[in-house]
């Protein structure tokens, strides 16, 4: 930290210290402090004096020094948010939820993005700690060990001492998606396995295997697609889906790893002349903002990302402020959103003949409220 140049110091309008205010009103700094912080001790100060102090503080542009106060009360009311990325749909919604909750409790947060750099991640913990944060929330980030402060991990799966994991109920999610496909008559279902770098991959896959067994769905090894990397664009699913089509193994539905990979898959299917959902049904995961606006609109498992951020923030603040008992895991219920990317298999003929009237019907339905 380089000291700022003198010139810059002059340029900034100084705010008065507590001492200066006290001198101005000719009282002790502690009396002034009691009044300005509205502490119980201020009750003994006459209203007239209080008014004088407040007026002087205003006139002198007194601003309580947050750092001096933090040092004294050993609190910073700040937490650190460690995310893999900030600009993507997943993290930005989660962080939006965190912010919303912290605001209510008058907490602040510092955000850092490690972009999968392990070394950076380790540095961040101590850097944030030095800055006085009182706890961490990690977003889609695999922790290397027990962090030095109370921590809540969003989509954390490893049990780590003192870390609360916020996890989606993946069994429920898999059940909702697979039950929907089975209900529609799908048997040959292709699955996409997430990259090992994504914190949900393993958990989600285990849930799929478990639920498949219950629903008597045969998971065919030739219909399992392993995603590589964590490309946040539809390129994520595209090559895998292309390969699947090229392999010529028959399938009627795909449960994609997430919405982004579902989008890439749909593109690959459509380019190969396969209609979605006439030839292949596709189920996504996440329900990102644009999922409802794809062609076709995506059937998907919704993760309430913003709510997950809020819940994480609440869990952390309760630990920090109320010394609440440590909870190892908070499970979040997913929702299932049925849109147009899924349909019963082998209905191509029927679908084509009714496609036009379907669209027409939709158009009529949609336009009704606006036009009358």
């Amino acid at each position: 930290m380089k000291p700022r140049s003198k010139k810059a110091d002059r340029a900034r309008k100084p705010s008065a210290t507590l001492k200066a205010v006290a001198e101005r009103v000719n009282l002790t700094p502690s009396t002034v402090s009691h009044v300005l912080t509205d502490s119980p001790a201020a009750r003994s100060v006459p209203q007239k004096t209080k008014d004088r102090i407040l007026a002087a503080a205003r006139r002198l542009n007194y601003q309580p020094n947050f750092f001096a106060r933090s040092l004294k009360v050993k609190r910073s009311h700040t937490i650190g948010v460690i995310a893999v990325e900030i600009g993507d749909a997943y993290s930005s919604l989660v962080i939006g939820g965190i912010e919303r909750y912290l605001r209510k409790r008058d907490f602040f947060f510092l955000t850092v993005a490690h972009r999968h750099d392990k070394k950076l991640l380790a540095t961040y913990e101590s850097m944030l700690q030095q800055r006085g944060v009182e706890g961490f929330i990690t977003v889609d980030t695999a922790l290397n060990g027990q962090p030095p402060l109370p921590t809540v991990a969003i989509a954390g799966h490893r049990r780590i001492n003192r870390v609360t994991n916020i996890v989606l109920d993946h069994r429920r999610a898999a059940w909702l998606a697979l039950n929907h496909l089975v209900d529609q008559g799908h048997e040959k279902i292709a699955f996409m396995k997430g990259s090992p770098a994504s914190s949900d991959s393993e958990e989600r896959w285990n849930a799929i295997c478990e639920v498949s067994e219950k629903l008597r769905i045969r998971i065919r090894p030739e219909l399992i697609l392993q995603l590589e990397g964590t490309d946040p664009t539809p390129n994520l699913g595209y090559p895998a889906a292309k390969q699947l089509v090229a392999s010529q193994h028959p399938f009627t539905a795909l449960f994609a790893y997430n919405d982004i990979s579902a989008i890439g898959s749909i593109r690959a299917f459509q380019q190969a002349g396969l209609g979605v959902p006439e030839d292949v049904s596709v189920v996504g995961f996440d329900d990102i903002q644009s999922a409802a606006y794809l062609s076709p609109p995506l059937t998907t498992v919704r993760q309430p990302l913003q709510e997950m951020g809020e819940i994480a923030a609440r869990a952390l603040l309760d630990r920090i402020e109320k010394q609440a008992k440590h909870v190892a895991e908070i499970s979040i219920a997913p929702e299932f959103v049925v849109r147009d990317s899924t349909a019963p298999p082998h209905h191509r003929r029927a679908m084509v003949s009714s496609a036009e009237s379907d669209a027409a019907q939709r158009g009529r339905d949609l336009l009704q409220p606006a036009s009358g």
């Binding site: 947060f109 955000t111 800055r131």
Partner: protein, 367 residues
């Protein structure tokens, strides 16, 4: 701060000094590499470093901040963080600050304007050394250096980072003209969005130059009754419906942003119209989702991450007293042609489908 936790009470400078049998002043001068430490012998210095490592001494940031009056922290005030616009700009800010060892505190006002004043005060109390606002209109000078991403007003001491709207609009409208479009509809941004006014004025100016007639019946203003519209596809949807519901012929739409363009494409397709065969659509921003839709979106790219980086570097330069204060930094947009624009239709929309359907275009594109 950590000493509220039962574990790892932080090791103070005093403790390190005591451990070594030296004065805190000596230890401090060595650990901070201050000029005074030159008089400390090399082996003592090494002992101090070894002890600091061994005891896991970490300098108290707050104490230091109080002393040197520097926090290396800035405040970021954004309209929204969960949306593609705000999050990409913030991502760019973060990337730059990281390199410079700066941190930032984020506050989101969701277009509740009364919060803005309160937020800048709160951030000031926390010792931020400067502010970046995103899609937020600053009405009054702020007591510290500030940079506004998409700032539209000229406020003393605030540097506005803005996209060159004229170029952006010119590229988009020229593209449509070359494709033969004359009947162009517009979705106009809400007042709360910083860019709305500027962009609209540019549209009016450029349209005059290109001899495009802007018809009131082809303009939808996306004004939220509560005055704090966040332009998600969901919120834009009714406005696209409204446009279609007017049953006025048009062959192209220039939407306010990608989200509203995405909503419009959906509305058009649901009504049986093909994009771009029956209607061309242009967005603005080039968010990630612009490539998710089918057809993929022709749009004006704002380099949002880069705008965040530029905002951060401008602010840090001002904080460090480097470089002159500039009122405005214009960012070049980039026009991206994808699949949602094509030649203006010369065909009549199929009458069998349009006749019975409310809200369809009249069959002809002629005025």
């Amino acid at each position: 701060m950590a000493n509220r936790n039962k574990h790892n009470p932080p090791v103070t400078l005093k403790a390190v000094a005591k451990h070594l049998g030296l004065t805190p002043g000596t230890v401090s001068s060595v650990l901070n590499n201050s000029p005074a430490c030159r008089s400390v012998p090399g082996h003592t210095r090494n002992r101090i470093f070894a002890a600091a490592r061994e005891l896991d001494y970490k300098p108290n940031f707050l104490a230091r901040a109080l002393r040197v009056k520097r926090t290396n922290t800035i405040g970021v005030i954004a309209a929204e963080i969960g949306d593609p616009y705000g999050s990409l700009v913030i991502s760019g800010i973060e990337r730059y600050l990281r390199e410079k060892d700066f941190f930032y505190l984020t506050m989101v006002h969701r277009h509740e304007n009364e919060l803005l004043e309160c937020y800048s005060r709160l951030l000031l109390e926390r010792g931020v050394e400067g502010l970046i606002t995103i899609d937020t209109s600053i009405a009054r000078p702020l007591p510290l250096p500030a940079v506004a991403v998409a700032g539209r007003r000229t406020v003393e001491g605030v540097t506005n980072i803005i996209i060159d709207h004229r170029t952006a609009v010119l590229d988009a409208l020229q593209h449509l003209i070359e494709l033969g479009h004359r009947d162009i509809a517009f979705m106009k941004g809400p007042e709360t969005s910083s860019d709305a006014e500027d962009r609209w004025n540019c549209i009016l100016g450029v349209a005059r130059e290109l001899d495009i007639c802007i018809r009131p019946e082809l303009i939808v203003e996306m004004d939220d009754p509560e005055g704090r519209a966040v332009l998600t596809p969901e919120n834009s949807y009714p406005f696209a419906m409204e446009l279609l519901g007017r049953r006025r012929p048009f062959t192209a739409l220039f939407a306010y942003n990608d989200n509203s363009a995405i909503a419009a494409v959906r509305v058009f397709q649901d009504a049986g119209l093909r994009v771009p065969k029956d209607v061309s659509v242009i967005g603005f921003d080039d968010i990630q989702a612009a490539t998710y839709t089918s057809p993929t979106l022709t749009t004006v790219r704002q380099p949002l991450k880069k705008m965040g980086e530029i905002a951060a570097s401008t602010l840090l330069d001002r904080i460090a007293d480097r470089g002159e204060y500039v009122r405005e930094i214009a960012i070049e947009p980039q026009f991206v042609v994808r699949q949602s624009t094509g030649p203006a239709r010369t065909h009549r929309l199929r009458p069998t489908r349009s006749r019975s359907r409310p809200g369809r275009f009249p069959a002809s594109s002629a005025p």
